[in-house]
């Protein structure tokens, strides 16, 4: 167990630092090395999964220095800070960390053009992987915050600020992430002050007094910002729009979600004993995250930004699941976290593929790409149906668990329990809106007539296609075997066992879905094929020659018609609701007010000094 842990934490970091020294022109070679390291790390993560786990110490003192040497003594003293906890949740998450690192590294070899490529891309990918593993395994809070903070740096370094807009997005991202890290330290300090052990596994803090609630909220802000939950989510859409698709697929789509939700799980399930009011508040945040972000997604034209808003919206499901606090809810939240990471990073990879081939960012400029990019189209359909919760895919399986969890939660007697129907309705409504916006995504990019300039496109880059297909296959696999294997064997080992009322046999249903699709195809080919006639697009009988005549976005203009929604969208576009912009305005306002006092006039400065002196004399003498 020791060796696996060392390899998955330190190997990527060390190789990453070595790659930093390799010149930029060997990009492909660096990518191949990074992929190999990621593969090794994934292999050892899998091996770690089959060990017993338990508490262990990083034990740097014993490992590298002989007994009695000064370095040995030195590191032994630091050992209480390097406790690791290899439990079933951590073991599961690090497998996914390894998987995403591997897939994104492979994809990036084919994808990253020099213009959007961050300096030392693979270095930061590998450091991210190592530090994510470290953060997930860490048991001592300080060690956890140490790794967690480094992830903020790599997140910032993975977006290249090559013009003012991208530089602004990078800045905003890091300020929000760094701010949340600072607030987490405050929470940590409060827990320390109250005398709780700073070990994540041993902590069990009741949220009965104000001060523990403050500590809880401080730590929760950290988890929310990392995962991108309302109202700390505002960096996610910006990052998704302006970073390269590999970076978005790696960080906000998968690893940041895994880590943020991982910490949320720890907060809710082991570190704190949650009271009813917190449950209510977090549920409200969860469902509002779902609805607000999906409404914003509906209005987007840039497909990467659309995905960014969905990366926020889906967090709402996970937050809702964990807030329920029942094994069923936890299982739903957890399963949804993995599913979301799979299909969302898949969607980003697909979006990156489209972007690389066409150079366009807006859905309206594209169309008909299914004919030239069949593999990407196929995987995008899988991802889009999955995120919209269509059976038998994995997104449905986890959402089903969350719905079941809410229904079961409704049997309780607390105030949040009584409102179960509200939570259920809003989560389901969010799912419907997700489907609506992904119809826009799919039909706008892949359907309709093809722009003739793209006729010569071919999907030849297997570095890019294979990771997408792998993710699509995993999405299908997790969905089809959800009730038979994934939930009982994998998820329940983490969340605790449970049973639920809603009967769902995923394999059988999948078989039925498959049969109906085949039957449909058969009917289509046998009965209708010969009766179908293909015509050029026309308006009022006149031929319409516009190259991309199929504006999927047009269908969604109706939501702008509603005056309330319209004004909300306008305010959101001006960033009135963005917590970053609000704080920025406040700080700069104070700054301006203070700098009025600094005229640069010497007598004024002298007066301050005399005044300061006098005030001190008056107070103390």
């Amino acid at each position: 167990m020791m060796r696996e842990v060392y390899i998955i934490i330190f190997l990527p970091v060390i190789v990453g630092i070595i790659l930093y020294a390799v010149p930029r022109k060997y990009f492909t070679a660096k990518g191949i090395v990074a992929s190999l390291v990621a593969a090794v790390s994934l292999f050892y993560s899998c091996r770690l999964y089959f060990t017993d786990g338990g508490m262990m110490n990083l034990g740097l003192g014993q490992k590298f220095f002989s007994e009695g040497s000064q370095m040995h003594d030195l590191l032994v003293q630091a050992e209480s800070f390097t406790m690791l906890n290899v439990d079933s949740l951590a073991k599961l998450i690090i497998i996914f960390v390894g998987l995403f690192t591997l897939l994104v590294s492979v994809y990036s070899i084919g994808y990253l053009l020099p213009r959007i490529r961050p300096r030392s891309f693979f270095t930061y990918v590998l450091i991210t992987a190592g530090c994510s593993n470290g953060a997930v395994l860490a048991d001592h809070m300080l060690l956890f915050i140490f790794f967690w903070g480094i992830l903020g740096i790599t997140l910032y370094k993975l977006i290249k600020g090559y013009n003012s807009v991208t530089a602004a997005a990078a800045k905003k991202t890091f300020i929000l992430i760094g701010a949340s890290d600072g607030i987490m330290i405050l929470g940590l300090a409060i827990l320390w002050r109250l005398g709780y052990p700073l070990s994540i596994s041993a902590m069990s803090v009741p949220t009965t007094s104000l001060i523990t609630v403050i500590a809880f909220v401080c730590l929760l802000i950290g988890a929310f910002t990392k995962a991108g939950a309302f109202p700390f989510h505002t960096w996610v859409p910006d990052y998704a729009t302006h970073a390269s698709a590999s970076s978005s697929a790696l960080m906000p789509a998968s690893l940041d979600k895994l880590l943020g939700i991982y910490f949320l799980a720890r907060l809710f399930n082991s570190m704190f004993i949650i009271n009813d009011w917190i449950t209510l508040a977090v549920l409200v945040i969860g469902v509002s995250t779902i609805i607000i972000a999906v409404m914003m997604a509906l209005a987007q034209h840039d497909y990467k930004r659309l995905l960014g808003y969905h990366a926020v919206s889906q967090v709402g499901y996970m937050v809702t699941g964990f807030a329920l606090g029942t094994p069923l809810g936890v299982a739903g939240g957890l399963f949804h976290m993995f599913n979301h990471a799979l299909y969302k990073s898949g969607l980003f990879l697909a979006a990156g593929h489209v972007e690389k081939h066409t150079g366009k960012h807006n859905i309206e400029d594209l169309g008909g790409l299914s004919k030239v990019m069949p593999l990407t189209f196929f995987s995008s359909i899988i991802f889009a149906l999955s995120i919209s919760g269509i059976p038998p895919l994995n997104g449905f399986a986890s959402k089903w668990l969350i719905y079941q969890g809410i229904v079961e939660f409704g049997q309780g007697s607390g105030i949040a329990n009584q409102l179960w129907i509200v939570w259920l309705a809003l989560t389901m409504f969010g799912s419907a809106l997700t489907l609506a916006s992904f119809i826009k995504f799919l039909s706008g990019i892949f359907m309709g007539p093809l722009n003739p300039t793209y006729k010569t496109l071919r999907e030849k880059n297997y570095f890019m296609s294979i990771p997408q297909l792998v993710l699509a296959v995993i999405c299908i696999g997790l969905g089809v075997f959800a009730s038979g294997w994934v939930i009982p064997k994998v998820i329940q080992s983490v969340s605790g066992s449970f049973s639920y009322i809603g009967f769902w046999e995923s394999s059988t249903v999948s078989l039925l879905v498959l049969i109906s699709i085949i039957l449909g195809l058969v009917f289509y080919l046998l009965l209708f094929k010969k009766n179908i006639r293909v015509e050029k697009p026309f308006i009022l009988g006149e031929p319409n020659d516009t190259t991309s005549s199929f504006h999927a976005g047009e269908f969604f203009k109706t939501i702008w018609g509603n005056s309330f929604l319209n004004s909300m969208y306008k305010a959101a576009e001006k960033k009135y609701f963005d917590i970053y912009e609000i704080s920025r305005g406040t700080v700069l306002g104070i700054s301006k007010a203070l700098s009025w006092l600094h005229l640069g006039v010497l007598p004024v400065y002298l007066i301050w000094i005399i005044a300061g002196l006098l005030v001190m004399f008056i107070i103390f003498l």
Partner: protein, 511 residues
């Protein structure tokens, strides 16, 4: 080892006189001699970390105690002095090495190096002397040479800044001198250890409060505490970059923070009122400085305001320790607070010095330091950009850089000591610091490529790069000071000397 103590003053002082005299024969004398001298001093000060006794006393001129009363001047090196000496001489080495290339844009570099050595001699003198009036003399040597160095560019802006600095600095010296005079009248002694013995017998009185307030105002002005900070943004942003690094990195610490620490911990008895005053002034500086900094568009001015804010952190840590000690609170928390303050001071010397050197490299290559006129420099100067990023992370308190750990100590100590407001403010200031350095990176180092000619606007020359990269490495390496064994070598002796009055006075006057 105590025989080596005067070399901290003799070596740079000799350099200061030799350089202008012999530069006529050998043009490069200053360029070569100054870094070598500073390296020797650095080695000497690091040697003192591994000393065999806690405190070394050197009797200048061989004047020993007479009946237990010091009559001559003594040089004293204890844990705190060693810590200060090593950061002063370390920054002096890097700044002087950086200057080798940087000064190509100036004329009269022999005067630059002479003044530089003089300033270092003054600062070294301040931290090793055990005599109050001697401290004042060395302080004047250091600040007067810094007045001249600030004006070194002799443009309108530099001269104006230097003039303001001189007037306000002169006022501060006056206040300090007045304090010393009253103290001498009251106790009949100028030796710090001896004064502390006399004061202990006398107990508190209004005149003592008066002296303490004079010292807080005087040294607070040197340390640029709000509301005595007004000279700093002008002076630190107008000086040549290596001098800014010295001023912000060590001068305000040696003549401001160190003096306050030494006098209030080791000479006066800690009182609750004065401790609270230092804590409050520190907090106001921390918050005010950062709000002023984030609105700036001049790279060096922004850094200068951050110096005020970061010194606020140092005073916050020290002040909390003083308050806890003065009410006989939990000693462990006081240790943590003071260690956090000292640790942050060391870290600040490194990262702020580095940031000023970065700004110098940027200005050297592009000719401007206005953020809005810069852009895309990470393409032009990747190594400068990297080192600047490291320093920015350190000052913003992001792991694994050193600033994270010192701020962590301060924040945890604040919460432990139930200074909840201070803890929350420290976090807030840390966030705004991060935001303002993200602003620097967004405008200067990323964004549109402004200087398209990569050959002309390429990487900085070797001597600059060397200093910057080593300092960036130190930003990472100093994180190790959090580990107990390193902490015991470098920080704990200083903390102990501050907390225990006897540690300091016993070896000097035997009481």
């Amino acid at each position: 080892m105590s025989a080596l103590i005067p070399f901290f003053v003799i070596l740079p002082l000799a350099g200061a006189f030799a350089i202008p005299v012999f530069s006529g024969y050998w043009k490069n004398m200053g360029k070569v001699l100054t870094p070598i001298l500073m390296l020797m001093l650095l080695a000497l000060s690091v040697m003192f970390f591994f000393r065999d006794s806690a405190v070394f006393v050197y009797y200048v001129g061989g004047w020993e105690l007479i009946n237990g009363v010091p009559v001559g001047i003594q040089f004293v090196v204890d844990g705190l002095s060693v810590l200060m000496l090593s950061i002063i001489n370390m920054m002096a080495f890097f700044a002087s090495f950086f200057s080798i290339s940087y000064l190509k844009k100036f004329t009269g570099d022999k005067y630059f190096y002479a003044l530089f050595c003089l300033m270092v001699a003054g600062m070294n003198g301040v931290v090793i002397t055990g005599d109050l009036f001697n401290m004042f003399i060395f302080l004047e040597i250091a600040v007067i040479s810094s007045y001249a160095l600030v004006a070194f560019g002799i443009e309108r802006e530099e001269l104006e800044a230097s003039f303001k600095y001189q007037v306000l600095g002169g006022l501060a010296s006056l206040l300090v001198l007045l304090g010393i005079v009253v103290l001498y009248w009251k106790t009949g002694s100028l030796n710090i250890a001896d004064i502390s013995r006399v004061l202990k017998q006398e107990g508190s009185s209004p005149s003592l409060l008066f002296i303490q307030i004079l010292f807080i105002a005087g040294f607070g002005l040197k340390a640029a505490m709000i509301p005595f900070h007004a000279w700093l943004p002008d002076a630190h942003s107008s000086a040549p970059a290596p001098i800014s690094a010295m001023l912000s990195g060590v001068l305000i610490k040696a003549v401001g923070v160190y003096a306050i620490m030494r006098l209030f911990f080791n000479m006066f008895e800690l009182t609750y009122e004065m401790s609270m005053l230092i804590l409050v002034i520190g907090t106001i500086s921390m918050v005010g400085g950062v709000f002023l900094a984030i609105g700036q568009w001049d790279f060096k001015r922004l850094l200068a305001y951050h110096s005020i804010s970061q010194m606020g952190y140092v005073f916050l840590g020290l002040g909390m320790g003083m308050v806890i000690l003065s009410v006989n609170g939990n000693k462990a928390v006081a240790v943590m607070a003071i260690a956090g303050g000292l640790y942050h001071m060391v870290n600040h010397a490194v990262f702020k010095g580095l940031l000023f050197l970065n700004s110098g490299a940027v200005e050297y290559k592009t000719g401007t330091r206005m953020l809005k006129e810069l852009g895309g420099l990470s393409e032009n100067m990747p190594l400068t950009s990297t080192s600047s990023f490291g320093a920015s992370m350190a000052i913003s308190g992001i792991p694994p850089f050193n600033g994270f750990f010192s701020k962590l100590l301060i924040i945890i100590a604040a919460v432990q000591g139930q200074f909840y407001l201070m803890a929350a403010l420290a976090v807030l200031v840390s966030i705004i610091t991060l935001a303002s350095f993200m602003k620097v990176h967004r405008y200067a180092f990323s964004g549109n490529l402004r200087f398209k000619d990569l050959k002309k606007f390429g990487e900085a020359p070797f001597s600059m790069l060397f200093s910057m990269l080593v300092l960036a490495g130190l930003c990472l390496l100093l994180s190790l000071l959090i580990i107990p064994v390193f902490r015991d070598i470098f920080l704990t002796p200083a903390v102990n000397d501050l907390m225990n009055l006897l540690n300091y006075s016993q070896p000097i006057i035997g009481v």
